[in-house]
């Protein structure tokens, strides 16, 4: 669905993106991670046709973004970071104004807008001026704005920043429902834990370069298995499974995969009673910090 090839963007002498290659399939929920200033927003702006790349190309649904930005905007929705509106207009008037750029009648637009405001949970304040809105409410309106044209591809830049926990949960639910409707979602999360809940694939960008991409499962590096037995374990028995360290009465096995069943069998065969046997996976945060930290 989205294909970026060798994407480079220079701001004066600063290389915001450095030969980024990225491929996102249709109906994929893609989480785009990276430290501040890594080039996430630049990437999204380029994909929305709001900036021109210095070199490289992006195709969305086979359409070249740099050549046909208007076509792209017709089929994509974008919730920018710190989304802004016309403060002197009401939420509804704002959306009606944006709806003017799509081929829809006013009645049609009004109906779509009412449904969207309901969806994002601000229908009760639809006729209030946006200037009086809180940040979270603006964020909700921003999502409604991004869905106005029933887009095939949706770009969300830190969509849950400024939202209360309930709002963030609502947003994640909406994103999951959009996925069910067959949309492709490009999502730059505010907090890492959201990624696991919403995204299928993840890309990590640092200093304008994609340093890792794949399914979340693929990111899991070595797992750690904690074993405690009675009588205390002789660590050499488990050495076939991986690196074994002894800590107090526990043995900690660093294995490539989850091999608890094999460990259990081995221990039983050797006459040990198992007191504890559990797996700890590195969190996404650990993986992320490892990868990003490694680049520095």
């Amino acid at each position: 669905m989205i294909e970026a090839e060798n994407l480079t963007k220079m701001y004066n002498n600063f290389k915001a993106l450095d030969g980024l290659n990225l491929k996102i399939e249709e109906n994929e929920v893609f989480g785009f991670l990276g430290p501040n200033g890594a080039g996430k927003t630049t990437t999204i702006s380029l994909m929305m046709g709001m900036l021109q790349p210095t070199s490289g190309s992006i195709k969305i649904d086979g359409i070249d973004v740099a050549k046909n930005p208007l076509e792209i905007k017709k089929m994509c929705g974008y919730l920018p970071e710190n989304v802004g509106f016309y403060d002197n207009l009401t939420a509804k008037q704002n959306l009606l104004y944006f709806a003017e750029f799509y081929k829809m009648s006013k009645d049609e637009a009004t109906k779509i807008i009412d449904d969207l405001l309901e969806l994002v949970g601000i229908a009760h304040t639809a006729d209030k001026k946006v200037g009086e809105y809180s940040k979270g409410m603006k964020q909700r309106l921003g999502l409604a704005q991004a869905l106005l044209n029933d887009p095939k591809v949706i770009f969300l830049d830190e969509p849950t920043s400024g939202l209360d926990p309930q709002g963030a949960a609502d947003f994640r639910k909406i994103i999951r429902n959009l996925k069910k409707e067959g949309k492709t979602i490009f999502f730059s999360p505010h907090i890492l834990s959201e990624v696991r809940e919403v995204c299928e694939t993840v890309g990590i960008i640092n200093r304008g370069k994609l340093i890792a991409k794949g399914r979340i499962e693929d990111f899991k590096q070595n797992v750690v298995i904690v074993v405690e037995t009675d009588p205390p374990l002789d660590p050499s028995i488990l050495e076939t499974f991986g690196n074994v360290k002894v800590k107090d009465s526990q043995a900690i096995v660093e294995a490539e995969r989850d091999c608890r069943i094999e460990i259990s069998k081995t221990l039983t065969k050797n006459g040990y009673t198992i007191k504890e046997l559990h797996l700890t996976e590195p969190s996404l945060e650990e993986i992320y910090l490892n990868l990003v930290g490694g680049g520095e």
Binding site: M50, G84, N88, Q145
Partner: protein, 189 residues
């Protein structure tokens, strides 16, 4: 698009404030100018000498009012039209929808033009009202003269609006600085 820009302009406090001042200024000077015109007109009727120009009704202050407040109005209407959108982030939201940058600027210019038309039409109608109240019924030629004066006023106001809008378009800071300075010196002249 221009509908929204027009509505934004005429409902902005800035616009209303300057417009009211301008209107008061114009009304006062037309009141004076009309008196002077009527005097000259009576002389013309009696002696048959050169017919006084109807434009006289706008008086010195009327022209001066347009020159100063009109120019200020034009500049104030335009100078932050785009930078304001950038600051509030609405430009980014707007640009994520299928719209050309030119369309945005044209919409703004057209909206402001309509608002300025409103200014000119209202002040002209006020002047005609004062004239009729004083008992003078303008001839067709007089109406044409007033309309011509109105068009020139409109062009003058819109020029100042354009001067204010223009420097917001180029990306380079230096260029922007130069054109702002240029606009300011225009204004001083």
């Amino acid at each position: 698009m221009q509908k929204k820009e027009f509505a934004d302009q005429i409902t902005s406090k800035r616009f209303i404030a300057i417009f009211v001042i301008m209107l008061l200024f114009t009304a006062y000077s037309i009141h004076q100018g009309a008196d002077a015109f009527m005097r000259d007109y009576r002389v013309f009727v009696q002696s048959g000498e050169s017919k006084p120009s109807i434009i006289q009704i706008f008086g010195f202050l009327g022209s001066f009012g347009i020159l100063t407040f009109g120019a200020i109005l034009g500049l104030l209407m335009g100078f932050d039209l785009i930078t304001k959108e950038k600051e509030f982030g609405s430009l980014k939201t707007l640009l994520s929808h299928p719209v050309f940058r030119d369309q945005i600027i044209n919409g703004k210019a057209l909206g402001a033009f309509l608002a300025l038309c409103l200014v000119v039409v209202v002040t002209r109608i006020a002047s005609l009202g004062v004239l009729i109240m004083k008992g003078f019924v303008p001839s067709f030629d007089d109406l044409i003269s007033i309309a011509k004066f109105g068009l020139i006023t409109l062009a003058y106001l819109f020029t100042f609006f354009s001067i204010a809008l223009l420097p917001q378009q180029p990306q380079k800071t230096l260029e922007r600085l130069y054109s702002s300075l240029l606009a300011y010196s225009f204004y001083l002249v």
